[in-house]
């Protein structure tokens, strides 16, 4: 019975999850063969798009190009992926430069055999069995997957949200805090709640801006 169920849904494949090491790979890209481990020591926004020479993807690449310098300043690299060939990627990147005046300074993986796409669960068969969806994997300098975002093919991503997300993760790492809803750099952050009654009593005397013992904020 169990075996039959497994057969029906196909072999279970463990997809990457938050807090786990991002699966390593080597793949052909517009910068030559590239390995995930090449990015160790810096943050990485690894994203997939459905196809080259399509309008929504083109707006996204232009938008990524517009924030690439800002990302570099906060030690974040970008890397794209789709199932198109490296020749198609090169032609498209050159086209974006020509038509939009924006230089794509990040590598784009040519995942024709869908090896990396399957490893990361980038294909959503309910939407398309062949193209990758608009996935984003935020990977930290130690190679740990810190955030995942999935968008459907119809909806372009928001670069300001990606910037906000990475900055929030960096702030969390730097100050051991959490960030509230709609947080922006410069806003107050959340102090981790106390885990004992004694610490809860003490928390209110620690000089934070507290609504109650479990809800305290501070500036960083």
């Amino acid at each position: 019975m169990e075996a039959k169920a497994k057969q029906e849904v196909g072999e279970a494949h463990h997809l990457p999850r938050i807090g786990e090491p991002a699966p390593d790979f080597e793949a052909e890209s517009t910068f030559g063969n590239i390995r995930l481990e090449d990015f160790r020591g810096s943050w990485l926004i690894f994203f997939s798009h459905p196809a080259d020479f399509t309008p929504v993807c083109t707006t996204e690449f232009a938008a990524f190009a517009e924030i690439q310098d800002e990302l570099k300043q906060i030690n974040v690299n970008l890397m794209g992926l789709s199932v198109d060939s490296v020749m198609a990627h090169i032609a498209w990147v050159r086209n974006i430069e020509e038509k939009f005046g924006l230089e794509i300074q990040f590598p784009v993986i040519a995942d024709s055999d869908r090896k990396v796409a399957n490893l990361y669960g980038m294909i959503m068969p309910g939407e398309s069995k062949t193209e990758t969806a608009r996935c984003v994997f935020v990977i930290d300098p130690d190679g740990i997957l810190r955030a995942l975002i999935y968008y459907p093919m119809t909806t372009g991503r928001n670069m300001q949200e990606l910037l906000r997300l990475v900055r929030a993760l960096q702030t969390t790492d730097e100050h051991t805090v959490s960030t509230p809803a709609n947080w922006q750099p410069g806003d107050a952050v959340i102090v981790p709640p106390p885990r004992t009654q004694e610490l809860a009593e003490e928390r209110l005397r620690e000089g934070y801006d507290c609504k109650d013992w479990y809800f305290c904020q501070k500036a960083v």
Binding site: F31, G32, S42
Partner: protein, 84 residues
């Protein structure tokens, strides 16, 4: 895959990386000298290693005689191009 294999591993990035390896150098120093992102230096040096144009000693990398020869050949070709 292209119908013809590419043998051009020494683009301008490869040349600028090789030029920094005339003395043993770490990848971090190569990145600083070339102003390339570290991930790009790692990938480029890996390809240069595979092609035998550089070799590794501990954490340092240095150009090989084959690397020097390739640079010289490329220099001659570039000069010829300029003269044409």
């Amino acid at each position: 895959m292209a119908c013809l294999p590419s043998d051009d591993i020494l683009g301008s990035t490869g040349v600028s990386v090789l030029l920094t390896l005339t003395t043993p150098t770490t990848l971090e120093d190569v990145a600083q000298q070339t102003r390339l992102p570290l991930f790009r230096v790692r990938g480029t040096v890996r390809r240069l290693l595979e092609a035998g144009l550089t070799h590794q000693v501990g954490q340092m990398f240095e150009i090989t005689p084959a690397g020097i020869e390739t640079l010289e050949k490329k220099g001659r070709e570039d000069k010829q191009q300029l003269q044409l």
